[in-house]
Every structure is written in structure tokens, then in C-alpha cells.
């Protein structure tokens, strides 16, 4: 019933149709793909923060002792 032709619009893939009477109107809206995977950099940063906090405590303790 429909011939699909991929076109690009603002980086988002769109599909244009050979219209027939029943088809919904053409009024495209961009729908960017969301990020769902954890960014390793964020995790590394959090781990780094914990490590630096621990070493800070260790150095302070050494000074006290």
C-alpha cells in the first residue's frame, strides 16, 4: 500500500509516503534516539572520586599517627 522512501531531516530519519486517502497527514516531528547505556566515563569518574577520598583519609590518618 505504501512505498517508503527514507529521507533525512535534522539528522533524524524520516519516511515519506506515496499517500493515499486514508494516510495520516504529513507533519514530521523529530524523535531523537535516547541514551540508555551507562557511560563508562561517568562510572570511572565516580570511582575516581571515591578513590581520591579514600587516599585523602589515608594521608590524614598517617599525619595523625
Amino acid at each position: 500500500m505504501t512505498d517508503q522512501m527514507p529521507i533525512m531531516n535534522n539528522g533524524a530519519p524520516r519516511v515519506a509516503f506515496m499517500r493515499d486517502a486514508f494516510e495520516p497527514p504529513i507533519a514530521p516531528l523529530a524523535m531523537p534516539k535516547q541514551v540508555l547505556t551507562n557511560e563508562h566515563r561517568t562510572m570511572r569518574r565516580s570511582v575516581g572520586a571515591v578513590v581520591s577520598l579514600l587516599s585523602l583519609i589515608k594521608h590524614s590518618l598517617r599525619r595523625v599517627v
Binding site: A21, P24, A27, L29, A30, M31
Partner: protein, 592 residues
């Protein structure tokens, strides 16, 4: 949208935080109590690794039961969620009612649209509300019938220019992909979208009220209704319909009390703000192969989490009436649907750690995952308990050297019986309380009166206890299949009368009988003292095909009454009348 400031005392978010704390704390407390009682009981004859394993298993499964009970108790003690803003008058924005279909009966689906359009017309909002059928149907014969009957719908409703039909050549991304394709090609034509399933029915007044609410609250991204199950005929279907009618509103109210800004989305019978949806809900493919990778199957809870992450409010309004759906009529259809949900929920293990999700969204995703791990935890507990008997060894009554008197271990039998009763109470108490509450508040009148309601509560409890091991077996198989990498695909839903033959039931349930025989034999061989205790689980498994067949039979009249039996909702009546007229008009076109 931006993130909100910390909640102020007395605000909705503050109350939600309190409700969450209460439910979580009480369920963890109950689990800790069960775990410690079991630990003391298990350590009577000396502590071993198997005791620790069993304690962890009983702790996790009790937490899950207690969490359900806490949600019900919150529902019983909370008020219905009422809209913050009471808007009246005409609606301004344009709305599209989306009906995705996939090899469904076109007559049934399109006659529902006709009924909803009639109902919308009665509100005077026809000019503001369009309908679009998004077909992912693979069967060309059904697709041809869809177009034919869509023409009939356009003619009957005078729907040219406001009713649309589109069939995709490739059903990439399944239902989520189908909707995404509409939004990317046509989304800017509408402000709001009511997302339905092929078997959904909504009163026009409900659709208009949802539009009013979302128009009145600019932060509201998604509004979910609580659909009531209608049209059930079989024993299984009517018991589910009764439970959904009587118990679900209470559980939903408990859920609503805790939702804050990150409420649930169940994939249908909800309205979304199209702009918010487009900005936030473009679902990527997950890395790796199915079942864990690829397109997201249970997209709804992910979409709810993504909307909340973007700062939009996602809310369940449990006071909205006039929202209906149909349910599975037999255990096989239920298990087929559950297989899909199982894979979808377990796939969320790849999503639950997504950056920026609200903590409650993560917890909701975790709940979905845990709901499918729970049966395996119960099975593991049963297996560990059987294993514990041969591993226990002989009791040593003379542990001290050179001490002539025997040392008897403490008797903790009373604690063990108390624990068993406590777990049983967590299972049945919420349903009984909801039944009693319905009697006390007069809500039971809608279910045939106090006596009939309590009788139905009791029957539903008995039936659900009887078929629980069968459902547990199906669910465990689904989880194992997913864990071993088997993709369940996308089987279409059966929406017929659901009656099964003995042969069909035997074919679908004989493997469960084999599991039952295996379970009894192993227990009898290694832990004969447990055989009798295992019977409530093993016997229903043994007769699984019989149960599957029997529960697909028509239910006795008068049992499991719901309000729709006493007075059919207007939209259901309207749909039945249109369906009759269409079936009579061109019966040979009907596609089952």
C-alpha cells in the same frame, strides 16, 4: 524541562516520599523478620551453607510478597488521586487516538473505534479528536479486510479527514516502532495522543477529561488510566476480570500514592503530550542479540522512565472511569502474553542503569525484573529445602566430651509454623482486606452485594492458589528460556472466546505434569518427610492439563460478578450494537 527543587512538606512529592518510605520500610522489616526467624529455625541443628542459602531465598521472596501487601494497605488507607486542576469547558488542542493493530480481527477493532467516535461525538469534541489505525499486520488477507472495514468505518462515521489508516511494510521496533513511525511522519499534526491497544475501549467523556487534565497541567507528559477488564466468559477470564475489578483499583491507588512524578505507563489507555513523547521517547536498539539485546519489548515502562528523566510528570489518575480492555480467556493465552512480558522485563536489566533516570523509575524497572525472578526464587527455595534433608545428617546429642547427659536442640517448631502462617497471611490478607473494605464502604454492591462479593473473593483465592503452581511453571520456563538466550518473537494475541479442547490443553500442559511427577519422585526419594508438604504445589502441576482445560470452560452465571455484568458500560453496549450490525451486514468478511 528542568529538574524540580526538593519537595516541600505537605506537597504531593513529599507525601509520595513518605508513602514510599513507609511501604519500603515495612516490607523490608517483614522480610528481615521472616529471614531471622528462618535463620534461627535452620540453625537449630547447627548452621550450614544450605541454611544460609535458604534464609536468603526466604528473605527475598517474603520481601516481594510484603511489598505487594504494603502497596495494597497503602491503597486501602489512601484517598483516590484527584486531578490537581479541575478544568471544564471546551478542549483546545488537537488529539489523535492511536490504535496499533497486529493481525487482529478488523471487525472487532474497527467497531470499537466506531463506538468511541460515537461516544466522542456525544461530548461535542469530534472536531478536536482524530483516530488513526497503525497496522503492523503481516497477514495479507487480514490486511485486506482491515482496509475494507476501514472504508466501512469512514462511511459510517463520516470520518474522512479525521480517521486514518496506515500499514507498515516492515514492523521494525514492533508496537513502539509503529508509534514512533507515526510521530516522526505526522506527530506535529497533534498536541496529544491517546494510546490504545486493539482491544481497548474508552468513553468519549473519559478521553475529553484526559485531554482537559493534560491541557491544564503543562508539566504533565503522560496520564495513565486504570483500565477495567470487560467481556470475559471463561472461568479463568472471569476470575481475572473480578480480581482486576475488585483488587486492582486498591493496588493502583497504593501505586498512585507512591508515584510522585514518575508514575507508571502500561502501554495503552493513556494520553501523552506528543512534543514530550517525541523529545524523550525515541527508543534505541539495545546492544547484543535478542532476547536481551535488540528492540525493547516492554517499551512502556522505559518510556515512562524516559519522560520522567526529561522532567515531565508521568501520572496514574485512578479516579478516571470509563477505560476498558479485554484480558486473556485461558491459561495458555495468559502464558503466551506473560512470555513476552517476561522477556521484556528481563531486558530491562540493560536499561535499569541508564544515566539520569529518577531513582523511583529505576525501582519500578527493578520491580518488573524482580517479578519474574520471584518464581525462580520460590523454586530454588523448594529445591534447597529438599536438599537440606539428606545434607542434615544425624543429630549429635552428646557434643561435649566426657559429659554423660544428652544435649537436646531447642525446639523452634512454633517459630516455623508462625513463619509459614505469616507468609500465607501476606499472600491472602490483601485480597481479603480489599473484599471486606468493599463490603464496609458499599462498593460491594457493584459486585452483586456483600455475600456474593465475599463468595467471589474466596473462590478467586481458591482458584488462584490452585493454578498458581501451573502459572509458576510457565513463568519459570519463560525466565529460563530468556536466560538461555531464546527469543520469544512476537506472537499475535488471541482474542476469541478462549475455549480449549482437552487435546490442546494436554499438548500445552503435559510438560508441567512431568515436572510434577519429577518433583514428587525426587522428594519421596531424598526427603520423604516433605512429600506431604509439597502436595499443594505438586498436585496442581500433576493435573495441569486438566486445570488448563477446565478453567477455559464458561464460568457459572452469578460467580465473579463485576459492575459491568449488572449494568453494561455505555461504551460496551454501543460497541456490542455496532459489532452486531456489522456482522449482520457483511458476515462473510469477518476475519476471526
Amino acid at each position: 524541562m528542568t529538574r524540580q527543587a526538593p519537595p516541600k512538606a505537605g506537597s504531593a512529592a513529599y507525601r509520595a516520599g513518605g508513602a514510599r518510605f513507609l511501604a519500603l520500610a515495612s516490607s523490608f522489616l517483614a522480610a528481615a523478620a521472616a529471614g531471622s526467624v528462618f535463620f534461627i529455625y535452620g540453625a537449630t541443628d547447627g548452621l550450614s551453607l544450605i541454611d544460609v542459602v535458604r534464609t536468603v531465598l526466604i528473605l527475598s521472596s517474603t520481601w516481594w510478597l510484603a511489598w505487594g501487601a504494603a502497596t495494597a494497605l497503602l491503597g486501602l488507607t489512601s484517598h483516590r488521586h484527584l486531578a490537581a486542576v479541575h478544568a471544564t469547558g471546551p478542549i483546545r488542542g488537537k488529539t489523535v487516538v492511536i490504535v496499533p493493530v497486529y493481525n487482529e480481527d478488523p471487525v472487532g477493532t474497527l467497531s470499537r473505534i466506531a463506538a468511541m467516535d460515537d461516544s466522542v461525538r456525544a461530548t461535542g469534541a469530534t472536531a478536536q479528536i482524530d483516530f488513526v489505525v497503525l497496522s503492523d499486520t503481516r497477514d495479507d488477507q487480514i490486511a485486506a479486510a482491515e482496509r475494507l472495514w476501514f472504508g466501512q468505518l469512514i462511511a459510517r462515521q463520516n470520518g474522512a479527514g479525521r480517521m486514518f489508516y496506515r500499514r507498515r511494510q516492515e514492523n521494525t521496533g514492533r508496537k513502539a516502532g509503529n508509534i514512533e513511525e507515526l510521530i516522526t511522519t505526522s506527530g506535529d499534526a497533534w498536541d496529544f495522543a491517546v494510546i490504545l491497544d486493539a482491544d481497548s475501549l474508552m468513553e468519549g467523556a473519559t478521553i475529553v477529561e484526559m485531554i482537559r487534565r493534560i491541557e491544564a497541567e503543562p508539566e504533565l507528559g503522560l496520564l495513565q488510566t486504570l483500565p477495567r477488564v470487560v467481556g470475559a466468559r471463561s472461568i479463568f477470564g472471569r476470575a481475572m476480570q473480578f480480581a482486576a475489578g475488585l483488587h486492582s483499583p486498591t493496588f493502583a491507588r497504593g501505586l498512585a500514592a507512591m508515584q510522585g512524578r514518575s508514575g507508571p505507563f502500561w502501554g495503552h489507555n493513556a494520553i501523552v503530550r506528543v512534543r514530550a513523547w517525541a523529545e524523550s521517547c525515541g527508543l534505541p536498539e539495545l546492544s547484543g542479540r535478542a532476547p536481551f539485546g535488540g528492540h525493547i519489548l516492554s517499551h512502556d515502562s522505559v518510556e515512562a522512565a524516559l519522560l520522567a528523566r526529561a522532567g515531565w510528570v508521568v501520572r496514574l489518575d485512578d479516579d478516571l472511569e470509563g477505560s476498558y480492555e479485554e484480558g486473556p480467556e485461558n491459561i495458555i493465552d495468559h502464558a503466551k502474553r506473560d512470555r513476552r512480558w517476561c522477556q521484556g522485563n528481563l531486558q530491562h536489566t540493560k536499561v535499569v542503569g541508564a544515566p539520569g533516570l529518577l531513582p523511583w523509575s529505576r525501582f519500578s524497572l527493578f520491580q518488573g525484573i524482580f517479578s519474574y525472578m520471584a518464581p525462580l526464587i520460590w523454586l530454588a527455595f523448594i529445591a534447597a529445602s529438599i536438599l537440606a534433608i539428606p545434607l542434615a545428617g544425624e543429630l549429635n546429642y552428646f557434643p561435649e566430651a566426657n559429659w554423660p547427659f544428652p544435649v537436646f536442640p531447642n525446639d523452634h517448631t512454633a517459630k516455623a509454623i508462625g513463619l509459614a502462617l505469616g507468609i500465607f497471611g501476606l499472600l491472602v490478607m490483601p485480597k481479603f482486606l480489599v473484599g471486606l473494605y468493599a463490603v464496609a464502604t458499599g462498593r460491594a454492591r457493584g459486585f452483586g452485594g456483600a455475600a456474593k462479593t465475599l463468595r467471589s473473593v474466596l473462590h478467586e483465592l481458591l482458584l488462584s492458589s490452585l493454578i498458581a503452581p501451573v502459572l509458576l511453571a510457565f513463568q519459570s520456563r519463560s525466565v529460563l528460556q530468556v536466560l538461555f538466550g531464546r527469543d520469544g518473537g512476537w506472537p499475535p494475541n488471541n482474542r476469541g472466546d478462549g475455549g480449549l479442547s482437552v487435546a490442546e490443553s494436554w499438548a500445552a500442559g503435559r510438560w508441567i505434569s512431568v515436572w510434577g511427577i519429577g518433583c514428587i519422585s525426587i522428594t519421596q526419594l531424598y526427603a520423604p518427610v516433605l512429600t506431604l508438604w509439597l502436595m499443594p504445589v505438586a498436585l496442581p502441576m500433576l493435573i495441569a492439563p486438566l486445570l488448563i482445560w477446565w478453567t477455559s470452560r464458561p464460568a457459572a452465571p452469578g460467580l465473579f460478578l463485576v459492575p459491568a455484568d449488572l449494568a453494561d458500560p455505555q461504551i460496551v453496549q454501543r460497541h456490542a450494537a455496532i459489532l452486531d450490525a456489522w456482522a449482520t451486514a457483511i458476515p462473510e468478511q469477518k476475519v476471526a
